[in-house]
């Protein structure tokens, strides 16, 4: 009996059901070449903002952004996130100092090029860096490594002196790959912020905070949670919304029995 009803369900034409119910919805095709709608414009105008005005963002706008994160899709609807919002400048300075300290230590340990070529220190650091690079190829990509060097040398900041920092905490027991869900949740938050006239920046270097038992205790980060990412929020300096150019990416397009490569 149960089996029969499953089969019936599978065979049912959803459009027929719609029709029989008298609830047929209409198809609206956006015409070719139509101007970008509001959502598309929000996506195109979003940039990572690393210089902020001093003015604090009103609390209700942060709540409004987080509310959009709440409705993000997640594998099996597992919603493996919770949030920490930091709005006190001295506390933000505290997490900044900790992450800068970590970058200094890391930089001393792996930036072989800061030691005189041919010295023992150069030799040993380079060997260590190469091994570390092989073991952690994502983390030790040349771009974040140059970021770590720049932070260690005081040429780059971690939290960009933002008036508000949101930490995205991930429940490590999330279904499948919970880090993807965190990314999607954060994307909702960031795009909502853009639509509200706010600037944001994702902060991958915030993950260093997981290494500090003191900061984890103070921030309320405990197993099975970890800090997956952070997002800084504030009002942007200038008007960084001119539409930029970026590279295109390969698209394998299968249609009509053929494969085409598009960009």
């Amino acid at each position: 009996m149960a089996q029969a009803s499953v089969a019936a369900l599978r065979n049912e034409d959803p459009e027929e059901v719609e029709k029989e119910a008298g609830r047929s919805s209409t198809i609206t095709v956006v015409p070719e070449g139509a101007a970008w709608n509001g959502v598309e414009q929000t996506m195109l105008k979003r940039r990572s903002i690393r210089k902020y005005k001093k003015a604090q963002v009103p609390g209700h706008l942060i709540r409004r952004m987080l509310e959009m994160g709440r409705f993000a899709p997640s594998q099996g609807n597992c919603q493996p996130w919770k949030f920490v919002v930091i709005r006190d400048a001295d506390m933000i300075q505290g997490i900044e100092d900790f992450c800068v300290g970590t970058c200094k230590k890391l930089s001393r340990g792996i930036d072989y090029y800061t030691y005189p070529a041919g010295s023992f220190k150069y030799f040993i650091t380079r060997a260590k860096a190469k091994l570390f690079n092989r073991l952690q190829p994502n983390m030790m990509h040349p771009v974040p490594v140059s970021g770590i060097t720049a932070i260690a040398e005081g040429r780059f900041a971690v939290f960009h002196k933002a008036p508000t920092v949101i930490l995205l905490l991930m429940d490590k027991r999330g279904i499948g790959v919970p880090a993807i869900d965190i990314g999607i949740c954060g994307t909702n938050i960031v795009l909502a912020a853009q639509s509200l006239g706010l600037g944001t920046c994702w902060i991958g270097f915030s993950k260093f905070l997981n290494q500090s038992p003191e900061w984890c205790a103070r921030l309320g980060v405990e197993e099975p949670y970890e800090i997956a990412e952070a997002i800084t929020v504030g009002y942007p300096v200038g008007d960084p919304t001119h539409l930029i150019a970026r590279e295109t990416h390969e698209i394998g397009w299968f249609e009509g029995g053929k494969k085409e490569i598009l960009y």
């Binding site: 070449g33 139509a34 970008w36 539409l243 590279e247 390969e250």
Partner: protein
């Protein structure tokens, strides 16, 4: 057939070797630049600076500066359309870029 050869997969480029880690640079139109300084303060790689006399300062890429990530945040903030990145960074070996086309503004389909 793999897109990266066995040798490439094993080769991690020297972080400090411009031949192995190719960061590109922005082009700046000095005619258009009004020296507003905004690009120099927002550039995440900190590779831009102003130069020249007080009244007619212009932006330029710092000497020996490396690490531009072609994010075009400088273009996004420039009111004069004077500065732009048009090539992405690329590396030899493990991190060689794959499946990328030309730089292009958002296209309307």
């Amino acid at each position: 057939m793999a897109l990266l050869s066995k040798q490439e997969r094993r080769h991690f480029p020297d972080w400090d070797d411009p031949g192995q880690c190719q960061f590109h640079s922005v082009t700046i139109d000095l005619e258009k630049c009004d020296g507003c300084k905004l690009c120099t303060i927002i550039c995440p790689a900190n590779v831009l600076e102003l130069f020249g006399d007080k009244a007619k300062k212009k932006a330029r890429v710092k000497a020996n500066a490396r690490g531009c990530i072609s994010c075009n945040n400088c273009f996004a903030i420039c009111e004069s359309g004077a500065i732009e990145a048009s090539q992405h960074y690329d590396f030899v070996g493990y991190y060689r870029q794959l499946g990328r086309g030309e730089f292009s503004k958002p296209r309307v389909f």
